[in-house]
């Protein structure tokens, strides 16, 4: 692509009506011919991605073929259930609520998490709240540094750099949440003979912001090709409630509120969208920088960070690797 004109967010504008129609056609065709299931289960987080995915599924398959799953746990944000309920009501879909706190307790999630956190914050207890944040690639263009931000029950905040061992243990424990949720999505999909719809947008899919066999698992991912700002454009067209559209994107994974841009992406989504789009289309960093009010060096840092994330998360996209290829004769009998 050449961008001789102005490089701006205008380049990410889609025709929502046409795009929704195209996605719906594709979803019906894929469900019919490949997934071969008559409906979909979608985990609802009250966020924009799962809301748009559910609305698209309703438009493509009909609301009676869409089951929304609400899966809160004791650390979920208070508004999560309110927003997912609001979405389900507006779409008219059936929902099932599965509180996963008991399962998380059974697998030792809360204990394991606290033990890992105590390696850097010795007083850490289960009444504390915490989250992982990363160094800002703009201010610290070196290697990514991870910190545990912990809040005492009284509200005091401490921030400690995470060495490898507690970092990996915290992430491994936290991944239970995504995997347990996916396990329940497949339970309901199996009992209804449905497929599971995944909800990653392009930023998440491209840069590996998902848990393998957790939120990364699905039979169909209807918005994986859409930049986040395009998801918002479709949300408006699809009539997603305004409060959901205006909610700041969060991971809703840690007990302290965590913005996606403080854990994984180097920039807020609107800027990250344009950086990724610019990089994907060979737009020089200087041109992207002037559109975003950044320096070319900062955009170069973001470009490099995209490369690093793609390289380090590539394995998340891989199916299990075989020593010898096996021909499954996909066309047999068709």
């Amino acid at each position: 692509m050449t961008t001789t004109g102005l490089f701006s967010s205008q380049l990410l504008l889609v025709d929502p009506e046409r795009e929704v129609a195209r996605i719906c056609r594709s979803m019906r065709e894929l469900m019919l011919n490949q997934v071969k299931r008559r409906g979909v289960v979608i985990g609802l987080s009250g966020g924009i991605d799962s809301s748009v995915t559910a609305a698209l599924a309703v438009a493509a398959l009909g609301r009676e073929r869409v089951l929304g799953l609400e899966m809160p746990e004791r650390h979920s944000a208070e508004e999560t259930e309110r927003f997912s309920g609001m979405l389900a009501t507006s779409l008219g879909i059936t929902t099932v609520k599965e509180d996963i706190s008991g399962i998380l307790e059974s697998v030792g999630f809360y204990r394991r998490y606290s033990e890992a956190a105590r390696q850097v914050v010795p007083a850490y207890g289960e009444a504390w709240k915490s989250k992982i944040v990363t160094s800002d690639v703009m201010d610290h263009p070196g290697f990514t540094v991870f910190y545990l931000v912990a809040q005492t029950p009284e509200g005091g905040i401490t921030r400690q750099r995470l060495p490898l061992k507690p970092y990996l243990e915290i992430v491994a424990a936290t991944n239970f949440k995504q995997r347990i949720r996916k396990m329940l999505e497949y339970y309901h999909a199996d009992r209804l003979h449905y497929g599971v719809a995944g909800t990653p947008n392009r930023l998440e899919y491209d840069q590996g912001f998902f848990v393998k066999l957790g939120d990364g698992a699905a039979d169909i991912k209807p918005i994986a090709h859409l930049y986040k700002s395009q998801v918002y454009q479709l949300a408006e067209f699809l009539g997603i409630p305004r409060e959901i559209r205006e909610r700041k994107p969060t991971t809703d994974t840690y007990s302290l509120a965590q913005g996606q841009d403080e854990f994984y992406f180097s920039l807020p989504y609107a800027k990250m969208d344009l950086c990724l789009f610019g990089k994907n289309n060979g737009v020089p960093a200087s041109q992207v920088a002037s559109a975003l009010g950044l320096t070319p060096e900062q955009v170069e840092s973001v470009f490099k960070n995209i490369d690093v994330k793609r390289a380090t998360t590539r394995y998340l996209h891989l199916a299990p690797l075989l020593v010898d290829s096996i021909d499954l004769q996909h066309d047999h009998g068709q």
Binding site: H140, L164, L168, A311, T312
Partner: protein
């Protein structure tokens, strides 16, 4: 063993299944896909324990850590600065 050889040995054992595979002392860990950002955390833990140095956030940059040569120079400089002896025998 000097620091450069020691770091080289750690990198080969930890990240390359014990086979040096043409690894040069100035090979970029990141550019050549030898060590990713999680591997850098592992390298930093090793350096802090092995040489009893504290590595600050602002020192976690490719200039200090992106090749065997750079790591060795960085650690030598830090040890000179704090006048600590390495915790290994020559």
């Amino acid at each position: 063993m000097n620091i450069q050889d020691d770091v080289r040995s750690f990198v080969i054992d930890t990240f390359l299944f014990g086979e040096d595979d043409g690894l040069r002392d100035d090979s970029s860990f990141l550019a050549e896909g030898i060590v990713d950002s999680t591997g850098i955390m592992q390298l930093v833990s090793f350096l802090q324990e092995r040489y009893r140095v504290s590595i600050e956030d602002e020192e976690l940059i490719p200039d200090n850590l992106d090749s065997i040569k750079r790591v060795a120079a960085f650690i030598e400089e830090k040890m000179r600065a704090v006048k600590l002896e390495p915790g290994i025998s020559a």
